[in-house]
């Protein structure tokens, strides 16, 4: 090493913001930089400073490390609390014991990084995350309980209105009001059922198994068969579908909601058609499920909002609904680590695309 190199290293050692110490096996401080003096709260330039004799609360962790280094030779990222005049600091220590030829004895290098602030920030972040999770859990619980408790009164309102509608003495105006109570009661029950369903869908997939997507699609379509038939609608499955890890009940719900959505937003004068296809994205290798219909579609500027809770792209006068079904779809997809997107690029028709990350165990089935 040249004299210039040596000077540069000395300058680096003295001025670097990380505390560094050179100790012998007896714990005597042979050399320390300014950052080390600042961290430990006293001048380490004093050649008599010794970790074994230092103020107990400041030196014992270092003394322990010197002992450890004597046995193991090196230590990496050891976190320790050092108590100086300003209170405790969390320090991450790395050290290495080597034989120094010029001194003719073993010496230990130690580098001490003060990670107190970083650690406090990480602790605070973890704390906030915990509070957020708890808050979300309580909100879900509240939604579920509120919906459950609202269900009975809503049903009773509708039932009493139904009983009232059987009264032959009811005048025309009153009968009209009763009809409106019945419709509003049914709508309220529909919203409550959807809220209960939303609260019941976990943000995590839960009980998952490798399942053939085609089986789930067929099962979901079968459960919508009555609604589809009554609407004169047709649902086609095209292509080969993957076998993926999923919570079957949740994914069935997802598909039912998408089919229900397509049937609801059909054009009155056109035979409704929904085509469900599957393909592998060549670039990413992900599976892509696409639901394309020939319905009324939606304004393209709404595509980013469609999955928001209670968002409606069409007025209630045009189409019944509560704006919860697609929010449930997104929640189910998120729980599985899937992504759902919507587009309506043409004058008519909507396309919902579900991207399923490729798994090492997935395969395809007819």
């Amino acid at each position: 090493m040249t004299a210039i190199d040596l000077k540069a290293y000395r300058q680096l050692f003295d001025e670097m913001p990380v505390a560094a110490l050179l100790l012998d096996d007896q714990g005597n401080c042979l050399k320390a930089n300014e950052a080390a003096s600042d961290l430990l709260g006293e001048s380490l330039a004093d050649p008599t400073w010794n970790v074994f004799e230092a103020d107990h609360v400041r030196g014992d962790e270092l003394a322990y490390l010197v002992e450890s280094l004597r046995k193991s030779g090196s230590v990496d990222s050891h976190d320790a609390m050092l108590y100086g005049p300003d209170g405790g600091r969390l320090v991450r220590i790395s050290g290495h014991r080597i034989f120094n030829d010029s001194l003719g004895k073993h010496v230990t290098w130690m580098v001490l990084g003060d990670v107190t602030d970083r650690s406090a920030a990480a602790y605070q972040l973890a704390q906030v995350n915990r509070q957020l999770e708890e808050s979300n859990r309580q909100l879900d619980q509240f939604a579920s309980m509120a919906a459950h408790d609202l269900k009975a009164p809503a049903r009773r309102v509708r039932m009493f209105a139904q009983l009232l509608s059987n009264d032959a003495n009811l005048g025309e105006l009153a009968r009209g009001f009763v009809v409106r109570i019945l419709a509003s009661g049914a709508q309220m029950e529909d919203i409550i059922d959807s809220l209960l369903q939303f609260a019941g869908v976990s943000e995590e997939a839960g009980d998952t198994h490798l399942t053939a997507m085609k089986d789930v699609l067929q099962q979901a379509c079968a459960s919508c068969a009555k609604e589809v038939k009554e609407a004169g609608y047709e649902v086609h499955l095209e292509g080969t579908f993957p076998i993926v890890t999923m919570n079957r009940a949740a994914v069935e719900q997802l598909i039912v909601n998408l089919v229900h959505n397509a049937v609801k937003f059909r054009r009155p004068d056109v035979p409704g058609q929904l085509t469900i296809t599957s393909r592998d994205d060549e670039r990413s290798g992900n599976h892509v499920l696409t639901f394309s219909d020939n319905g009324v579609g939606f304004p393209n500027q709404d595509s980013g909002h469609l999955f928001e809770m209670l968002y409606r792209a069409h007025s209630k006068a045009e189409f019944e609904g509560n704006g919860i079904g697609l929010a449930i779809c997104q929640r189910i997809c998120k729980g599985h680590g899937w992504r759902i997107q919507a587009a309506s690029p043409n004058e008519f028709g909507a396309t919902f695309q579900i991207t399923i990350p490729k798994e090492p165990t997935t395969s395809r089935t007819a």
């Binding site: 269900k151 009975a152 049903r155 009773r156 039932m159 009493f160 139904q162 009983l163 059987n166």
Partner: protein, 126 residues
């Protein structure tokens, strides 16, 4: 036309009123009411009921527990379970308890109630 005796058991006075009113609209029913399973069992010890319409979710004795007790008292007793929010595994437990049919409170109408009760009585007579 013969009169069918029905005992309605529900802890909600409002639901008792609704079920009674629906049976009134059907016509041909003699209705008695009980606010819980224990009171209903005492009533059944004194007089028969062709059909018990029993709520599932009641404090104390549930609709299923009532059905088991009522059928141990009178094995031919026909019980129809009415429920607002049925748990997922209710069907199996209800069958084991001897419940004839489960009816959702959300879908009740005079026609449905009448048809369900008559079907249950018809099945018992066979």
């Amino acid at each position: 036309m013969s009169i069918t005796s029905v005992l309605i058991i529900d802890d909600s006075p409002t639901d008792l009123l609704i079920l009674s009113a629906l049976l009134d609209l059907c016509g041909g029913y003699e209705v008695a009411q009980a606010p819980n399973g224990s009171a209903a069992l005492k009533m059944l010890a004194d007089r028969r009921a062709d059909v018990c319409l029993v709520d599932f979710d009641m404090p104390g004795m549930t609709g299923l527990e009532f059905t088991i007790e009522a059928r141990s008292l009178r094995p031919e007793q026909c019980c129809i379970l009415v429920t607002g929010a049925p748990p997922a595994d209710l069907a199996t437990a209800a069958e084991q308890a001897g419940v004839h049919t489960i009816v959702s409170k959300a879908s009740l109408s005079p026609q449905l109630l009448d048809a369900t009760i008559q079907a249950a009585i018809g099945a018992r007579l066979q």
